[in-house]
Symmetry: C2
Subunit: 192 residues, 2 copies
DNA sequence: ACCGAATGAGACATCGACGTCTCATTCAAT
DNA sequence: ATTGAATGAGACGTCGATGTCTCATTCGGT
């Protein structure tokens, strides 16, 4: 018997395949199943053996992304300390998942309300709660709704990921650019 | 002879078809040519008579979007007066085109550098120049590159459009939410 | 060295969307 | 009323991607 991680025989690392798929689909969202397979270094048939179809693959990616995002939220310690610092930590932790997040957000827009993974709601709730707490503690302005700040957070992370990908922004500046704009805005401020 | 606008016989208003297509594709980027035709109230055959194929349709939408964006830039009077006020006017003028802009930006990401309309470069240059001028005049912070501010501008406009579409943000708050976040950021400021 | 699971390569049928074409019909101009 | 352009509906054929299947091969465990 050669049982491994989940009690199943596995020569190809499911998680590694997902990584490769994420890396490719992040750059080319319309990539073929065949292209995904090649990118993962496996045959198309094998890819199908692990993921029933393109849908299943995307769902698995969604699951992976949500897990990593939740973990990023955990590591960032969203619920403790000054909220602006928490946002800093959040962006830092989210950076590695940024491209995947961007892909999934775009992909979700296509679903047009079919059946959205409830994980997104939980994620939104956590991020939104951070901004709300910051408002209650007088750290964030109250005229921008938590829902919008959450949305803007996703948007900026996505924009940042693409900007880095296209070389319009240096990878090392990713965190700084996003955090500074999200927290401080573009206008020159007397404080700080 | 029934010559009309551009010297051709036209029963269907080409521009109106483009509007309908934009409205639909904005919501459902993967819409079929048939769906687009139905949305425009015409037959699929007629749609093909006006736009050789899906590519041609998207290109036409790109052209339309670029024209409207350029006009929005013109109307906003980007080159005059305080730069922060100019950004306000810019967002206000861009709002009607926001969904289409969002669609085109996403669509362009798929092209993966094939042949991008040079119009985007011109647009980027104009917006970027606004931010740069603002920096030179001490209105905007200099630690955020104009390229990134431009990118963030697109991103926030897109996020805003989707947030409104999904009802997460009130349509009337669109401009305010974007402008305030882009200019002032989320952090509570002593000034203002 | 052996055995069986897992893989890779390819063949195959299917399906959806596309692009083209035909033909009857509508409609505006004359 | 007549004419011709333009449209709508539908029939095709085509193509790319998908999903399934088979079979030879590889590879790890024993």
């Amino acid at each position: 018997m050669s049982h491994s991680v989940y009690g199943r025989l596995m020569s190809v690392d499911r998680n590694q395949v997902l990584r490769a798929a994420a890396a490719l689909l992040t750059r080319k969202a319309t990539a073929t199943m065949d292209e995904v397979a090649r990118a993962a270094g496996i045959g198309r048939a094998t890819l199908h053996r692990h993921f029933a179809g393109r849908d299943a693959l995307v769902r698995a990616l969604e699951e992976l992304g949500l897990q990593e995002l939740e973990r990023a939220l955990d590591r960032a310690g969203i619920d403790a300390g000054p909220e602006d610092a928490a946002v800093r930590r959040l962006v830092a932790e989210v950076e590695p998942v940024a491209p995947l997040l961007s892909f999934l957000v775009t992909e979700n827009q296509l679903f047009e309300g079919e059946q959205v993974n409830e994980g997104w709601a939980r994620l939104d709730a956590r991020v939104s709660a951070l901004f709300r707490r910051g408002q209650e503690n007088g750290v964030f302005r109250i005229d921008l709704t938590p829902a919008w700040l959450t949305e803007a957070f996703y948007g900026l992370v996505g924009s940042g990921a693409w900007a880095v990908q296209d070389g319009r922004v240096a990878a090392k500046d990713f965190q700084y650019m996003i955090v500074e704009l999200l927290l401080g805005g573009a206008r020159r401020s007397v404080e700080k």
